[in-house]
């Protein structure tokens, strides 16, 4: 049997939930698929207070946000959230297949599809990078913050961007030692608030360093790190051994954009966004009519922008289905303005440059 909701949303992170809040609020029959055990995407493991604008819950701890996003619509009969359900295919007749709890294949033929699948962590090359004990930093966050299990007793963090810094701090909160934070750049990529917390804990941040190899037989028992030169090549003689029983990689994220490719949406490789992303218009619609993009899958950014993009995709979808949305044009413009202001200033520069590479000018553009 093929289910025919008006809107199918793949991914129940901040982008997907914000989209659902809008489509359900406008009266669309909406199904949300998420492959995790609970909704919320990356947010469920984020115990720190959020940066970002107030409209998008800055100052609130990340783990509380899914609950707040769903509050207005959680009782609506129009909303169905299927967890542990992985969207696995898209066919030329517009059918999306999904594996439900590893047991059953479900089929959907929605009128509109919003893809908000987020991103996955990247890895880097070094001997033994596949050894148990080499973990994504986000994965370690899930293990310790959601399930209360320690990944090990002493970790080495690779990457001093926000994720590397935040997870290092959270490891210490959980009583787990951090040997050092290693960063290839000559500066710290993350925000100073996070970096200074690490400095206060006396965890060394080693810029212009990289990991040479992970040590161990069956699992990590240490690591070799070294200084690098201007060409990012290890400087002989600077190698040293670090004692640790796990290594966290916080070396960036890459969009999980396969479904767009299956749906033959036009894609473009955008280095600023971590990989291949679909072209989109200002309403978040891709080159394939009726398929929308929102959040990290369209370009690695942050939860605040994922929420606004989700809301924008949600109201645009509902509007295109002919739902009555009071003040549609004003709300649409407000959301777009909010994105512009989030992406303003020097911090937003690489995002602006990324957006410029994947814009299609919309015929349906409002205002």
């Amino acid at each position: 049997m093929i289910a025919t909701p008006e809107v199918l949303i793949v991914g129940g992170g901040p982008a997907g939930l914000a989209a659902a809040r809008e489509t359900v609020g406008a009266g669309c029959d909406t199904v949300v698929l998420d492959d995790a055990l609970e909704p919320g995407g990356q947010l469920v493991k984020q115990t720190h207070k959020f940066f970002g604008s107030e409209m998008e819950y800055a100052g609130v701890r990340g783990i509380k946000i899914p609950e707040i996003l769903l509050r207005e619509v959680s009782d609506s009969p129009k909303l169905k959230i299927l967890l542990r359900t992985t969207a696995s295919g898209y066919y030329e007749d517009g059918v999306v297949t999904a594996i439900f709890q590893d047991k059953k294949v479900l089929k959907f033929k929605p009128k509109k599809l919003i893809i908000a699948t987020g991103a996955q962590e990247k890895t880097i090359l070094f001997p033994n990078n596949d050894m148990p004990g080499v973990y994504g930093a986000g994965a370690v966050q899930t293990l310790m913050n959601v399930y209360g299990v320690a990944p090990g007793t002493r970790g080495l963090m690779i990457g001093a961007g926000n994720i590397g810094l935040i997870v290092s701090y959270q490891l210490r909160q959980a009583g787990i030692a951090v040997a050092a934070v290693v960063e290839a750049l000559d500066r710290i990529g993350g925000y100073w608030v996070h970096a200074s917390k690490i400095a206060r804990l006396k965890i060394p941040i080693l810029t212009r360093h990289t990991i040479i190899e992970a040590l161990g037989e069956e699992n990590v028992t240490g690591a070799i790190i070294a200084q690098i030169d201007d060409n990012w090549l290890p400087i002989p003689g600077t190698e040293r051994e670090i004692e640790c029983d796990f290594i966290c990689l916080a070396v960036g994220l890459s969009p999980l954009s396969d479904l767009f490719r299956l749906a033959e949406c036009e894609m473009v490789f955008v280095p600023e966004f971590g990989g291949d992303v679909p072209l989109r218009d200002t309403n978040m619609e891709t080159s394939t009519k009726g398929i929308y993009v929102a959040g990290d899958v369209g370009g690695i950014e942050e939860a605040s922008s994922a929420i606004i993009e989700g809301a924008l995709a949600g109201i645009s979808t509902a509007f295109s289905l002919g739902k009555n949305i009071p003040d549609y044009e004003r709300r649409n413009r407000e959301l777009r303005d909010e994105l512009v202001s989030l992406r303003s200033g020097p911090v937003g520069e690489h995002i602006r440059s990324g957006i410029a590479k994947c814009r299609i000018s919309a015929k349906t553009e409002v205002g």
Binding site: D130, Y135, V149
Partner: protein, 101 residues
């Protein structure tokens, strides 16, 4: 190892249940990912890779990277980072592609 006394988090655990790993009786909390329960007992090696027989463990925690495939109740290729633990599960390290019975 479980994290006790966290300064800002309180962990809501399901009820304690027993399962077996490679024939050994272990316990964990119902509903948590199998990988979390195994980590609590210090089990990091979850399978051996197909071509070079190298040990593999937990990596992405979102069911995408295929590093953590194990045999659960006789079924191979189960992603234990997202598969909830249930009482009486029989969990084994997977070697290679696993076998369908």
């Amino acid at each position: 190892m479980r994290i006790e006394n966290h300064p800002i988090l309180e962990f809501k655990h399901g009820k304690k249940v027993g399962f077996t790993f490679e024939g050994e009786e272990l316990s964990g909390y119902e509903g948590e990912p199998i990988a979390a329960a195994l980590h609590d007992h210090g089990v990091q090696v979850l399978r051996y890779s197909i071509r070079h027989n190298r040990p593999r463990g937990f990596f992405c925690a979102i069911g995408h990277c295929s590093s953590c495939l194990m045999e659960v109740d006789g079924i191979p290729n189960v992603r234990v980072c997202t598969e909830p633990l249930a009482a009486g599960m029989v969990v084994r390290r997977q070697r290679g592609k696993g076998e369908l019975r």
